[in-house]
Symmetry: C2
Subunit: 162 residues, 2 copies
């Protein structure tokens, strides 16, 4: 793994997300990396991230698919433009749609592996397919359509920051 995750490159004004923002002290602060043609993120749910006893809450699993997906979308955007993630302009994506299939209950108390694969990069849109691996068993499959944050919204955010 490289030292810096996809999320480490998010500009400060877009690094507050509860799921993936390194500046959100209350959040999950997930970290995603390339692993060849796939992206990978490891996450250990807390004991209170429970659904039925012994299993992980589906909302958290959806959140992992969501934020690992937008992170992978950003990394895929830079790759498509053949430039480094610390180059300008910064690319950041929002989720347009999210689909999650819960194949079987995901056990609580173990480190989960979230994996992603880029299905499509087309203009400002990126489609990522993902899955969650719990001790060698795929318990969740998901797909995310991400779109680059609109320029007008970026300007508004920078305005808020001043």
């Amino acid at each position: 793994m490289p030292d810096s995750s996809f999320q480490d490159y998010y500009p400060d004004h877009m690094a507050h997300c509860y799921g993936c923002g390194r500046l959100n002290e209350f959040g999950h602060q997930i970290k995603s990396y390339w692993d060849g043609e796939e992206s990978v993120c490891h996450f250990q749910p807390d004991a209170h991230h429970i659904s039925i006893p012994g299993y992980v809450y589906g909302g958290l699993l959806a959140s992992l698919i969501d934020c690992h997906g937008t992170g992978t979308a950003a990394a895929a955007g830079y790759r498509a433009e053949k430039r480094a993630m610390d180059s300008e302009p910064a690319l950041r994506y929002l989720t347009a749609s999210l689909h999650v299939d819960y194949l079987k209950p995901t056990p609580l108390g173990i480190l989960l592996e979230v994996r992603g694969r880029v299905k499509e990069v087309k203009g400002r849109k990126v489609v990522i397919e993902e899955w969650i691996n719990a001790n060698g068993v795929i318990t969740v499959r998901g797909e995310l359509v991400a779109v680059q944050v609109p320029d007008q919204l970026v300007l508004e955010l920078l305005g808020q920051k001043k």
Copy 2:
């Protein structure tokens, strides 16, 4: 609104969910009710449930769709069987699949209204369509396929409880 929400009727061994369990002191503890043919839940995100500044984190919105949906599925199950939610056997549902379309950013700092409508009740499966209303604007639409918790899993949970 009646005094008791759908989630108040969950049996104790299924009332620990981070999203909707009344026994999860760290969780969201959402409360859902019938409002005629629709179900409704109100939820105020915290300041740290942020995505980009000023807007709600998509993972939380997916969680609301998820847990309001499984709650509505349970209530729909009792309705289909023409019996009260405090009658036995208790009905509890898991999410089989979740789809969320983020139509526009959802503003942070206001009370959100999550609404659901039953599309289908067929055997152990219930399909719920949902939407999130932020100050009169629908920002999110979702659909959830819920399935009744398998009997074997219920027995295991009750075994854990002993």
